[in-house]
Chain length 170, copies 2
């Protein structure tokens, strides 16, 4: 299970705080995510990492719809972004929204920090732990959240897919 | 466009004939193909090359249903066979049949020979040319077919998916 909490943050300010925690910088990703329309609470996405020349096909089931913090995720790397999009379209899936972001990935133990600058939306921090013990994973996330000076009021429960859809008024 | 004609053959006898034409041996593949149920004339397949540690997601549209010699094919390599199967199942696709074969691939110019020993069905030879000029591709295929001592009576128009489905009585 992927357990993840999303916060609205100031990108540059949060970057300094994460680094001062002693987290290791893993990589930078320039992401282009194409989401397809799928009945809630399921997600279907093809992601291109433009700077790394990689692409991924991802299917997610949200286990706590509304809160959107617990995901059952299945992902494979695919050899071609455009061909994967075309296969899904030919299978009848409709493109919903495109989310573009610059992401800095950091790690501290088994906690992953995904600091995002999302085109049209601004700065977000996803703090993620992969674990089947959801309670323990959330405790671990919130322990770190406090050190970053964030609180419940900074949580953004909506998915990027939803935020972009709302921002584009569709 | 993938233009391909399938023949019923004796595996070992045909192997010698292909080699005597001067075709180059490219590789051996131990394939496990999972086909999903999709409305005709469309095919959805996940292929595992067991001996090469690779997997592929393939979508095909048959452009000449019934003859099954002209295919519009979209294919990507995927990083994991089982996860790709699971994603398709979660998306609602139903597994239809599994086709297992040993394939020897040969090439002569732009003609590809796929000599197959299909589990439960026996020997088959697919002769393939990738070209948007279907007429010219078929002329090229039939020129070689004659050299191999094959004729119209050896053509098998049915898909492997159909042959296995018939053989298993489902």
């Amino acid at each position: 299970m992927e357990v993840e909490v999303k916060f609205r943050v100031d990108f540059e300010g949060m970057r300094k705080k994460i680094e001062s925690l002693g987290a290791s910088f893993i990589r930078e990703e320039l992401q282009e995510d194409v989401y397809f329309s799928l009945p809630h609470p399921r997600l279907l996405r093809v992601r291109k990492l433009k700077n790394l020349g990689k692409a991924f096909l991802t299917y997610k089931e949200i286990k706590d719809p509304g809160r959107n913090e617990e995901f059952d995720e299945l992902e494979v790397e695919v050899s071609d972004f455009e061909t994967t999009l075309e296969i899904l379209k030919r299978l009848g899936f409709k493109e919903d929204v495109v989310v573009r972001k610059r992401r800095l990935v950091y790690r501290l133990g088994d906690v992953t920090f995904e600091l995002n600058d999302v085109e049209g939306l601004g700065g977000f921090l996803d703090i993620e732990v992969i674990s089947d013990d959801v309670g323990r994973a959330k405790d671990k996330i919130w322990e770190i959240v406090k050190k970053l000076g964030l609180g419940e009021e900074d949580v953004e429960p909506r998915l990027y897919q939803e935020l972009i859809r709302e921002a584009s008024g569709t």
